[in-house]
């Protein structure tokens, strides 16, 4: 534990964020895209906790508390939207939703 530096935690958070962003860009299934968004949020909270711990302040950790709250609210509303979309269009693949383009 005493040999794990701030940079190690930040690299883990950055790579996790990169994976999440990759998923958002590449995947077509809206539910998986949504999970990748959550992954990016989790990566950001990881960086916040690491900075908070290494700078000996509680503020970053409290911000993570709020991020988790907002993420929970966001998941509830987003999943309700996806279910409403599925009922209307019968699909959650983003390349099947082309009404505005056609």
């Amino acid at each position: 534990m005493e040999h794990t530096s701030l940079a190690h935690h930040l690299i883990l958070a950055g790579l996790l964020f990169a994976l999440g962003l990759t998923g958002v860009l590449v995947r077509r299934n809206l539910l998986v895209v949504y999970m990748c968004l959550e992954l990016m949020l989790a990566a950001a909270t990881l960086a916040l906790v690491a900075f908070s711990r290494f700078n000996r302040t509680m503020d970053g950790a409290v911000l993570v508390f709020f991020v988790i709250t907002v993420a929970a609210a966001e998941v509830a509303v987003g999943l309700a939207l996806i279910v409403a979309l599925f009922r209307k269009r019968g699909s959650v693949q983003s390349d099947a939703l082309t009404t505005l383009r056609d």
Binding site: T45, R53, A61, I68, V70
Partner: protein, 177 residues
């Protein structure tokens, strides 16, 4: 070199995140997401943020992912069968390696983090509530003094989300009936 426990959980988190991004089955993706979130929670524990680690497991791996799995199984949303999307996979790999190289440069090779005053080793824990402590009590103290207004706003946001979800699901059922 970081210690073994951190390396183990970092590998678990990144491997599970790869499973989330690469799997064509939505349920497998959700399982990868749960594993990745548990890995993040373990890293919170390694950073002495025990309260946040427990909260992460309860809220994310518990409530949020159960909701995701429920919706996935309700909607039956597997990707359409067919040829493996090599083009998307190549694009994803390119994006990931570009971003990963940027992350490694920013946090490792550029030396910016290593030159920070507190970057090398975490400072020892104190029981002073003004500093970083492991107890949930210091969360409560900050939430009800310095961050009272954000706490109220967060509560209101949850109420708005509740009302919004109810009205969203009500509208679509009426249209179907």
């Amino acid at each position: 070199m970081p210690d073994g426990l951190f390396l183990f959980f970092a590998a678990l988190t990144l491997g599970a995140a790869c499973m989330l991004v690469a799997s064509r089955n939505a349920v497998t993706s959700a399982m990868g997401m749960i594993l990745a979130l548990v890995g993040v929670a373990a890293d919170f524990f390694l950073l002495d943020a025990y309260f946040l680690g427990v909260l992460q497991v309860l809220v994310y791996a518990g409530a949020v992912m159960v909701l995701f799995l429920f919706i996935i199984m309700l909607l039956n949303t597997d990707d359409p069968e067919g040829a493996y999307p090599w083009k998307a996979a190549a694009l994803g790999l390119a994006v990931f390696f570009l971003l990963g190289a940027g992350v490694l440069w920013l946090f490792h090779w550029s030396g910016a983090v290593a030159n920070m005053p507190a970057g090398a080793t975490p400072p020892e824990l104190s029981t002073n509530p003004a500093l970083f402590t492991t107890s949930a009590k210091s969360f409560g103290r900050l939430l009800y003094t310095k961050y009272l207004l954000p706490l109220e706003i967060a509560g209101f946001l949850l109420l708005v989300a509740l009302v919004g979800v109810v009205s969203l699901s009500k509208d679509s059922t009426e249209e179907n009936a």
